[in-house]
């Protein structure tokens, strides 16, 4: 039984049909990358899994239990956490307050010290207001919020977007460590190269349909797919 099982999901934005019968599965300890061009439905998939969007039809199972239609706070308490594309850092709160808020309803929350050990940059900025953080620091804080909850499944939505190459390198390292710790990760990215560097399996979405499933090697061996659905 897969850890996360998504079957024939149809998701809408208003009455705009975004996902058409999308099916995926994610195994324990895997890193699964969701690739595709902008507008393909990748973010919608993650938001549907997290319960932010209720799907029109289809089922989502976590540990075999159906979670579609449940509110996000329930799904978060079952061990899943979304790191959204826009990061959604609370600007009016300090770094430390952002972390403490995230830890509130987590039964096995990490102690702050452990988070600061993993992210020394955040330790330096612990009293800074959220809105004074740089893009890279915000992304780190967003990931740290998922980590402090000891989330078993982390959904990363475009974690590398808009960040300088050096920071992307840092974040890839962090993501690899998360994976090595045995967490399950679903990462959505437009930056194919970065995503493939630490993914175990890959799905490609185009216009709301799944058009490819396989390993990164399978994808590299099929340049037609790369060009048709990812490139230009």
């Amino acid at each position: 039984m897969s850890l996360l099982e998504i079957e024939a999901i149809n998701s809408f934005y208003g009455d705009s049909h975004i996902l058409f019968d999308v099916s995926l599965h994610v195994e324990q300890n895997e890193v699964v990358a969701l690739l595709g061009r902008n507008g393909a439905g990748k973010t919608t998939t993650l938001r549907t899994i997290m319960g932010v969007i209720a799907p029109g039809s289809g089922t989502i199972r976590l540990d075999g239990k159906p979670i579609q239609g449940r509110p996000p706070y329930e799904i978060a308490r079952m061990g899943m956490q979304l790191v959204p594309e826009e990061r959604a850092i609370f600007g009016a709160l300090t770094v430390e307050e952002n972390l403490r808020l995230a830890a509130l309803t987590a039964p096995s929350a990490w102690p702050l010290a452990r988070i600061y050990e993993a992210f020394p940059r955040l330790a330096e900025r612990r009293r800074s207001g959220g809105r004074s953080l740089s893009g890279g620091e915000q992304q780190m804080l967003a990931i740290a919020r998922a980590l402090i909850r000891d989330a078993r499944i982390i959904l990363l939505d475009e974690p590398f977007e808009g960040l300088a190459p050096l920071i992307v390198r840092d974040l890839v390292r962090v993501s690899r460590e998360l994976a090595a710790q045995g967490r399950t990760i679903v990462v959505v990215e437009q930056n194919v190269v970065a995503a493939l560097s630490f993914a175990d399996r890959v799905y490609v979405l185009n216009n709301g349909h799944v058009v490819f499933e396989g390993t990164p090697d399978d994808l590299h061996r099929d340049p037609a797919v790369m060009k048709a659905h990812l490139g230009v």
Partner: protein, 291 residues
Amino acid sequence: MPSLPLLLSQAFNGLALGSMLALVSSGLTIILGTLGVLNFAHGALFMLGAYAAYVTLQGSDSFLLALLVGSVFMLLVGVLMERILVRLFYSRPPEDQILVTFGAGIVLVEAVRAIFGGNSQRVPVPSWGEGITQLGFLIYPTYRLELIGIITVTLGVLWVVLYRTSIGLVVRAGIEDAGMVGILGINVRRAFLLVFAIGVVAAGFAGMLYAPIVSVTPDMGGSFLVESFVVIVIGGLGSFPGAVLGGLIAGEIISITSAFDSAYSEVMLYAVMALLLVVRPQGLFGTEGRV
């Protein structure tokens, strides 16, 4: 030009009025900031608190007991109001939210009028507040000084709750992005209930404290409603520090202007609001773009 003692005494009156406005407006602003609802019933809730104190004092002599019972009563009112009515309107347009809270305000005022009649009731000044106090060359009613003290403490407690507790953390984050708070595993709707209840208790508590120095009638909340709107416009919508500072400023504007010419005291407040809207519409602490 009014005399110095008059100005000073009016300045203190301004503090009393201002701190009361600060408390009422704090409740209004956190409800607005977190829930997005402009509570047009806020003046009626202020009035309800005053009557709660009046009723308790019919059966007991202790003003402190009246404050306690009144606060519990207001908490119940807040919970009921949110659960039965306000909750239904979170996803409706702001005009609908304004109309329903406005209607609730009318119902509260008329219900009180039906039960107690329209005559002004008297709530006596508590025994520990009687008399006057000497402050240098200024003689000032004791209760008003104590009023300022009690409200300062209350606002301090409110500040501690907002900035030093977990629930305060949830409220401040919820004001910014309620959706993300939900994703982080927190049931925001339950937090909404608490925020609304706190706001209602704040308004009612202010009413209880003010009852001894003003005439208690069903319509007493009307002018405070409008004034608290002006305060949160001055302070910035959704900002607790803005409501406190704005309340004090408003209280002083009204009181000091009345030392010069009492006819213009209220008008001056609205003139300041109009000026602010032109020059800095987001107020003292508000965020631009939320206007």
